[in-house]
């Protein structure tokens, strides 16, 4: 039972909260020297420490601490002068020690904010904390209906992921987003992802789980100032899902409240296929994690001068960069927004850097290539073509060696693995026919074959020239320069435009 979104928003105001986990792209794990490569055969990137063999001890990864501080700085946080790791105790087979080394009341970074743009407005999302912890192993539950541990026939665990550094970024409650709540949530996660990328700390691939988001939603009746009970939705694995999960949870909660029901504080699971959430573990039966300071590790006390150095060394942040590029490229807000949504900024920028005009770079990435990416289900950046190759194609078009149609064929050849643009032009024979003699011979043939059309043109019906140009293009298999062909046809027939 749900209420339609608009009606829900007429009666209730949502309050959001977002907890985002980012797997850091460090070479080794958080507390041992094991590799962190994604997709390695199960249980091949493990050692006594990340398998929690008796007697093994953790040693904190300095690069992970540095990355976390840089994330905190990029999110305008204060950096703790002294803080500790803490043990979060609970039993679960994919957590080898049966406690997770995390941080509790002493996070590394705290009290920051992130501004996001939604519908032309800037919304400030306050950051409560950014802390560092370790990931768990990955359980696969085999058999049973739900794919979850209850009801499964058996479960297998891959500990390769156990101990990969994980940064948790927690927002303060976000009131006042009103109808824009789903968009704000999505914009926040999108912006966060951009920041991680610009910092180079993570590959932030939601589909591989290197960026995971839990969405907290509560509703309060309009005019009330007392926040309602919140739910925490997990398993939100794409940017689109972030938006859908917020929307769906608003609709569900509104229906419950409208009927006089109570929202249960619980964990809910988002289902990609239905776009709805279902109840998970109730917080009432939630565990007591018995946090206490991790005695196997020494406190982290980042040197103030070092933190200042890290701050000075931060890259240009994505929002600043977007404003700069928009001014440089002279593109519209709409174009910028579209590129942002399509993850095309880096690609367009690199293409421009390789010598292409901004408009052309945008046109290819957002047009032909976006379409290809969409069709094949591959992220734009993973298409087997480089910005430099796109720049080369635009150069060939600008020089008149290719027209748009041929350029598309060149791209197709590059994507098919046939080599560089120049190689594809060569092997497919895609140069524009620029030999005037060859072109004139084709024109003569076309005029002879289309005497009627030629006569019409001669008599002043210049519009009929289009058919003749088309004939030339067909006869040349698209290699002719259409504009030149038209010019020559008109000259031959003794008319001018």
């Amino acid at each position: 039972m749900t209420m339609v979104y608009d009606e829900a928003l007429d009666r209730f105001e949502p309050v959001l909260g977002l907890e985002t986990h980012v797997e850091l792209g460090t070479k080794s794990k958080m507390f041992c020297g094991c590799k962190t490569a994604f997709g390695a055969p199960p249980n091949t990137q493990v050692c006594p420490t990340c398998l929690a063999l008796p007697g093994a001890l953790p040693v904190a990864n300095a690069m992970a601490i540095e990355s976390t501080i840089r994330i905190g700085l990029a999110l305008n946080c204060s950096i703790a002068e002294w803080c500790r790791f803490a043990r979060k105790n609970y039993f679960y087979p994919d957590m080898p020690k049966n406690y997770q080394i995390s941080q509790y009341d002493e996070p590394l970074c705290f009290d920051g904010y992130l501004d996001v743009e939604v519908g032309g407005e800037t919304v400030r999302i306050e950051i409560e904390r950014v802390h560092l912890e370790e990931d768990t192993g990955k359980s696969t539950h085999v058999g049973g209906a739900t794919g979850r541990i209850h009801g499964a026939d058996y479960s297998i665990v891959d500990y390769n992921r156990a101990g990969i550094p994980l940064v948790e970024i927690v927002t303060k409650p976000i009131p006042g987003t009103d109808r824009l709540a789903p968009e704000v949530a999505k914009a926040y996660v999108t912006e966060l992802r951009e920041i991680m990328r610009s910092l180079g700390v993570s590959d932030v691939r939601m589909e591989e789980g290197s960026l995971r988001c839990d969405v907290n939603v509560s509703l309060m009746p309009r005019g009330s100032s007392e926040w309602g009970t919140r739910t925490e939705t997990k398993n939100v694995n794409s940017l689109r899902s972030v938006e859908r999960a917020v929307r769906s949870e608003i609709e569900r909660q509104a229906a419950v409240l409208a009927e006089g029901g109570k929202i249960v504080q619980e964990t809910r699971h988002f289902h990609e296929d239905t776009g709805t959430t279902t109840s998970g573990r109730s917080k009432e039966e939630a565990q007591d994690y018995r946090y206490f300071p991790e005695p196997d590790l020494v406190p982290i006390a980042p040197d103030t001068a070092w933190v200042a150095e890290l701050k000075a060394g931060l890259p240009e942040l994505p929002s600043v960069r977007r404003k700069r590029l928009q001014a440089e490229w002279g593109l519209s807000d709409l174009d910028m927004q579209a590129m942002h949504n399509a993850d095309a900024f880096d690609l367009v920028e690199a293409t421009v850097a390789a010598g292409a005009p901004a408009a052309d770079a945008r046109k290819w990435w957002m047009g032909e290539l976006a379409r290809r990416a969409n069709e094949t289900g591959v992220p734009l950046a993973d298409l087997p073509i480089t910005p430099a190759q796109i720049a080369r194609v635009t150069e060939l078009v600008a020089s008149g060696a290719l027209n748009d149609k041929l350029a598309r064929e060149v791209l197709e050849g590059v994507l098919a693995g046939e080599g560089t643009p120049d190689e594809v032009v060569e092997t497919r024979g895609l140069q524009i026919v620029s030999d005037e003699g060859e072109l004139l011979a084709i024109i003569d043939q076309v005029l002879a074959d289309n005497a009627d059309a030629a006569e019409k043109v001669r008599s002043g019906k210049i519009a009929a020239a289009g058919a003749l140009v088309g004939g030339v293009m067909r006869a040349s298999k698209g290699k002719a320069d259409a504009a030149r062909a038209r010019q020559l046809i008109l000259e031959k027939l003794g008319v001018s435009e």
Partner: protein, 496 residues
């Protein structure tokens, strides 16, 4: 004199000089073990062939001219809580029965590199929780002085093995007194180094902020040689101190305490202390004065709260440290018949695999860390810990070392305190403060109690990274007493 009666330093020198091979020394000790083990039961695991193979390898290294340390070829027994890749490591628990670690602890790794030969793994209270070695899941160990008595604990197998001349050296761990107390009640030397001075990597954890590996030996110099051989910074242990090892061997060779200031801890004597223990202790305090030290009484009022604080901190940490024993990756697995969930198998395994004292401490610790109780228990205990450290600091403003009896009583009878945890916990009354503050502390023999003829230990406590002071004072006491006794205290022990 037979090889087993030699000191470790003597054996090392003889082996280095080629007077005897590491194999011959190992065989002599293995033979002694075969002879007395049925009575002492100090070991959980012995594999003659593995030991002899190690000895042969050391002989080969020496023949090849490899420069090894002063203990090369000397045999050693390890508390069965140090990971050894070629011997099982069980922490005397059923939950790890037969477990063979794929790696060595830093301590055992360093000793292997230094050419020591491993005789086997010694008994302990399960997961080092206890003061008598009766909490071993396998069998109790007997005190070589009186087989009806306990050898102390938790490192009772290691203390008994050295006292029974089965091994010249052994390793132990000291979380609340688990080296010093067994050393005291078996008449040998036991040292708890500064916390962080010796690596914990590869030692099965009981209470991480307290656990400290340390040496057992029959004399102060041997203890120092062993201490030096395995200590020093270890990048695998974050709590390891990045500082040079205090010059303990040099100190052990300098038994001169003239001008040293020695503080007698006021709170550790009087009611509750056995008369024979106090008599020997008071004599040794006078002896220290006669050797030229200035002895003053020092009050450390917070030391009386150390025991309850310890019994909150250690169980809290152990409740978390022992969570990894869940039947999923190694060790015992109970109830996995295809019908039960992972959670049920975990619960059944832990119920079957842990002994009663381990369960008691896991429950205590789980409770103390629970939401709503944390501040009152764990938080409060940490504050007490700070107060104890301050008492030590204040005391060390006045004196160079502190002394006290190591234990309130001599060795008690096997079974005597088994059903009374509180009485058992009191055995660590004097040793716990040093663990809570991370200081160095040693026990050296100071005679036999008149009423039972059993050994009494003197505890010498020193500031963090001043371990050498323990050795200097210990060596002075040892020298003076041995000249009075006409030899080591152990020659008074009944023959086995």
């Amino acid at each position: 004199m037979s090889l087993i009666r030699k000191t470790a330093a003597e054996l090392g020198a003889m082996i280095a000089a080629g007077d005897v091979s590491a194999v011959e020394v190992a065989e002599a000790h293995l033979d002694r073990m075969a002879e007395v083990e049925p009575k002492v039961k100090a070991f959980l695991h012995v594999d003659r062939e593995v030991t002899l193979e190690q000895a042969r390898a050391v002989d080969a290294r020496l023949r090849a001219g490899e420069k090894l340390g002063p203990l090369a070829g000397v045999p050693i027994a390890h508390k069965d809580i140090f990971s050894t890749h070629d011997m099982p490591t069980t922490a005397a628990s059923k939950i790890l029965e037969g477990w063979r670690p794929p790696y060595d602890a830093t301590v055992t790794k360093r000793l292997r590199e230094a050419g020591l030969v491993f005789l086997g793994k010694t008994n302990l209270d399960e997961f080092a929780m206890g003061s008598s070695t009766e909490n071993s899941a396998y069998h109790p160990t007997h005190n070589p002085w009186d087989l009806t008595k306990v050898p102390g604990g938790s490192s009772g197998g290691s203390s008994a093995a050295v006292a029974a001349y089965e091994a010249p050296l052994s390793t132990g761990t000291d979380t609340g007194g688990s080296i010093r107390q067994p050393a005291a009640v078996t008449g040998i030397v036991g040292m708890k180094p500064t916390y962080g001075g010796s690596s914990r990597y590869g030692i099965i954890a009981f209470a991480s902020s307290l656990d400290t590996p340390g040496p057992f030996a029959r004399n102060v110099l041997d203890a120092a040689l062993l201490h030096e051989a395995f200590s020093g910074h270890d990048p695998m242990d974050s709590t390891s101190v990045d500082a040079p090892v205090p010059s303990v061997v040099e100190a052990a060779k300098s038994p001169d305490i003239a001008g040293m200031r020695i503080g007698v801890v006021k709170e550790f004597s009087g009611e509750g202390y056995q008369a024979g223990v106090l008599a020997r202790y008071n004599e040794v305090v006078k002896l220290l004065e006669s050797l030229g030290a200035t002895v003053v009484e020092v009050s450390c009022p917070s030391f009386t709260t150390a025991l309850p604080a310890y019994y909150l901190i250690a169980p809290s940490e152990c409740s978390s440290n022992l969570a990894r024993f869940d039947a999923m990756r190694y060790g015992l697995r109970v109830g996995d018949d295809g019908t039960r969930s992972a959670e049920e198998v975990m619960a059944l395994t832990r119920a079957a695999g842990f002994g009663p004292e381990v369960k008691r401490r896991i429950m205590l610790g789980t409770y103390a860390l629970s939401s709503g109780y944390y501040d009152a228990y764990y938080g409060q205990a940490q504050k007490v810990r700070t107060l104890i450290a301050r008492d030590f600091e204040a005391a060390y403003q006045q004196v160079d070392v502190l002394v006290s009896p190591t234990t309130p009583t001599t060795a008690f009878a096997i079974g005597e305190r088994a059903d009374d945890p509180m009485a058992m916990y009191l055995a660590d009354l004097c040793t716990i403060p040093s663990n809570l503050a991370g200081n160095a502390a040693m026990s050296v023999p100071c005679g036999l109690a008149d009423e039972d003829g059993l050994p009494v230990g003197l505890q010498i406590m020193a500031p963090v990274l001043a371990d050498d002071r323990c050795y200097r004072v210990g060596a002075a006491v040892e020298k003076a007493l041995e000249s009075r006794w006409g030899g080591p205290l152990l020659k008074e022990a009944p023959s086995l």
